[in-house]
Symmetry: C2
């Protein structure tokens, strides 16, 4: 957009699904005004020059079929709206970069703040976000990303095969270390804590780290590769920094945190200090995304976490125990790997109800091996034990990558065959 002074205004853009009790263009203008220089009245200090320079612009309105009932109740709409229908469509809004600066909480307040609460709005979902590269470069971005994760895990040319410490609650540090020993002996690439496990009184973080690290080191000495253990350091800022330092001092190669709860400032602080990849656990994410007319779509969410500096991010599993359809899960993984304003890609983490037989589905639909495939019960619950569980995962991916039908590959690979027999009926 040409400014009145002849200069080119630098902008970033957000795309939304919008449902509104007033016409779409009008609602879009209300959002743009509320999220830049607007309030419900023209104010004394709000000069035309100021408005021209700082106002957000509605750059696209693409109507869809209206609805006869609102997706979300609005008391304001019930009082004020005269239309008999609820207008629906996609809108794009362009915000001046200088409104925000390199400030992640303020970027979020602008694109995902009070706009969800506006009375005109009976549905609003942030679908996507586009920043100029020069603006994106002002945020930290992933320190490790896909390449750094692969390098530190020592895994190339195939997915990183991983598991989650289970049971997620109740294991003592000693029992955890025993399980880790078995998993490493079985050749696992990656282990993570459950998000429910961080620093409980019966298994404090320090005791868990002290129990687990010598076991990891023993296998690193044996194989020449430290297994990547994403230990859950979630806690206060001070606790997380202290735990990060302890992990790195002990030779660990990954940290994990519940990113929705430590927050973007917490994540960015970890990014600033970390010497190892940050495994972002998105628990709570369902509350922000499950309704199609509310919240945030993953395409936008992963960009925000990329800006803040996550390296690995959960995308659910295919055919898993969660609500999400496979095509949505695979699209999330593809989004993590897609170019975004010069910001490094994220390593997508497939997890929840995963087992060896799902590898061909992921491989076929994603068309990439840049991912982590985590099976909790699918490895630890394998009928022939943990080693067979890990082997079955590798075999599933070998079959997928070689284009051999799973059943055929299983004929000569007993661990995969046992997985199919045990998990196939449960999970398919």
């Amino acid at each position: 957009m040409l400014r009145s002074d002849g200069g080119q205004r630098s902008e970033f853009r957000a795309t939304y699904f919008l449902e509104s009790a007033v016409p779409l263009q009008q609602a879009a203008e209300v959002i743009a005004g509320e999220q830049s220089s607007g309030t419900f009245l023209t104010l004394p200090g709000e000069t035309l020059e100021l408005k021209e320079r700082f106002r957000a612009r509605v750059t696209r309105v693409t109507p869809q079929a209206p609805a006869l009932a609102p997706a979300l109740h609005s008391a304001w709409a019930a009082r004020h709206a005269r239309d008999a229908v609820f207008h629906r469509g996609e809108i794009e809004i362009a915000f001046p970069i200088e409104n925000v600066g390199a400030n992640l909480p303020t970027l979020m307040a602008t694109i995902a703040g009070n706009l969800f609460e506006l009375g005109e709005v009976t549905g609003l979902r942030l679908l996507d976000l586009d920043l100029p590269e020069s603006f994106a470069a002002q945020f930290p971005g992933p320190k490790f990303g896909v390449e750094g994760t692969r390098k530190m895990a020592g895994v190339h040319g195939r997915p990183v095969i991983g598991t989650i410490i289970k049971p997620s609650v109740g294991l003592s540090p000693e029992k955890t270390a025993e399980l880790v020993d078995n998993l490493c002996a079985a050749g696992i690439d990656f282990i993570k804590d459950d998000e429910l496990m961080a620093d409980p009184p019966y298994a404090p973080f320090d005791a868990r780290l002290a129990a687990v690290m010598p076991v990891l080191q023993k296998h690193a000495d044996r194989t020449g590769q430290m297994p990547m253990y994403a230990i859950n350091i979630s806690g206060t800022i001070d606790e997380m920094l202290r735990r990060h330092d302890a992990v790195v001092a002990a030779g660990g190669t990954c940290i994990m945190a519940s990113t929705n709860w430590i927050g973007l400032a917490g994540l960015q602080h970890l990014r600033q200090h970390t010497a190892v990849p940050v495994h972002a656990h998105r628990n709570g994410w369902g509350a922000l995304t499950r309704h199609p007319a509310l919240g945030i779509a993953f395409r936008a969410y992963q960009k925000i976490l990329r800006l803040a500096g996550a390296d690995q991010l959960h995308v659910n599993g295919v055919q898993g125990k969660f609500w999400e359809p496979d095509d949505s899960v695979v699209a999330s993984a593809a989004a993590c790997l897609a170019p975004f304003a010069g910001v490094s890609p994220l390593m997508p983490v497939f997890s929840s109800g995963q087992w060896a037989g799902l590898a061909p589905i992921i491989h076929g639909q994603l068309g990439s091996d840049d991912l982590m495939h985590l099976a909790g019960g699918g490895i630890i619950g394998h009928p022939h034990g943990v080693e067979a569980g890990v082997t079955s995962m590798r075999e599933g991916w070998e079959a997928a990558r070689e284009g051999v039908p799973l059943e055929e590959y299983a004929e000569t690979h007993p661990a995969l065959r046992a997985a199919i027999e045990h998990f196939g009926g449960v999970l398919a």
Copy 2:
């Protein structure tokens, strides 16, 4: 609950609205299992003793009328559920305290984590949270709360009257200071930044603080009371601490942050360091709460922010420009003030489309003066200027507290009368 060893298990409890494709009790058990020691299979390390000690218990299931269509789509439910209806009701789950410890992100991962994504779940909303006092005492809680806010603002026996710097975007530090000067001259108790304004290149935080603080100090020297200015320090952890220190060094008495984006770890870190009350701006909250079958209810949300250490928290306005019905807004304010496990109450902040004439509604419905009433346009846009705007707000509350009808009180109070004439038609 009596443990098998005869001891009393210490628990906290979460209440949910649940809609499910499987019978309610079954879905509740799945949630309790997933959020404690469960996975989709019984695992080698998961002994009966471990399960008994660490499992979450379903302590209440209160059915409601079922639905014929799901509130939220679940691909899992479409594959697996055999029932023709979607079961609905309230459930309560009791979690062992020792599963979590004094760790806020892990508390959230437990009560508001992956459970939103479970395939059985076609609707889930965290309604409430109850902790034993001994457990709540392990979290910081508000450092100032209602009493500390009142003391530092020098306002007793009536609401704190405040405003928001408008226009929210575009004002230079000098123009901001001019507006602050006018507001303080008019006798305002409290001023806050808009959440869109933190540290933009055209009005950097340091320049804004440097411009505003001498003005505030001038009025403090004049009146003996420093006006409370909630300056938006949102940013990285290091930026926020540095800004907090600068605010306090300059004599400021409040800081503000976008709490959903700095996160609970960010908020707790501010709580740990702050010498002044923390004004919690909940922008983005709409995405978490607007659908009645998803997300988090304010009753639970404010408890979490109380644990983390917020002092003041937004609750929207009555008759405002947002979606929320008045009874819900007032219930939110009441929740902030209600007892909770020995944790100090929060100062509720009424904001959005507020003006003098709404005081009697709030007063009548809340039955308390422990609140902040913020009018942006309702003060700065008053037809007789900012001073009349502030006066009208005070007069509105005088009328409310004295039980005099607004119109009658306005007969002898011209600022209130002008507010009614100007805003009454726009906003009522």
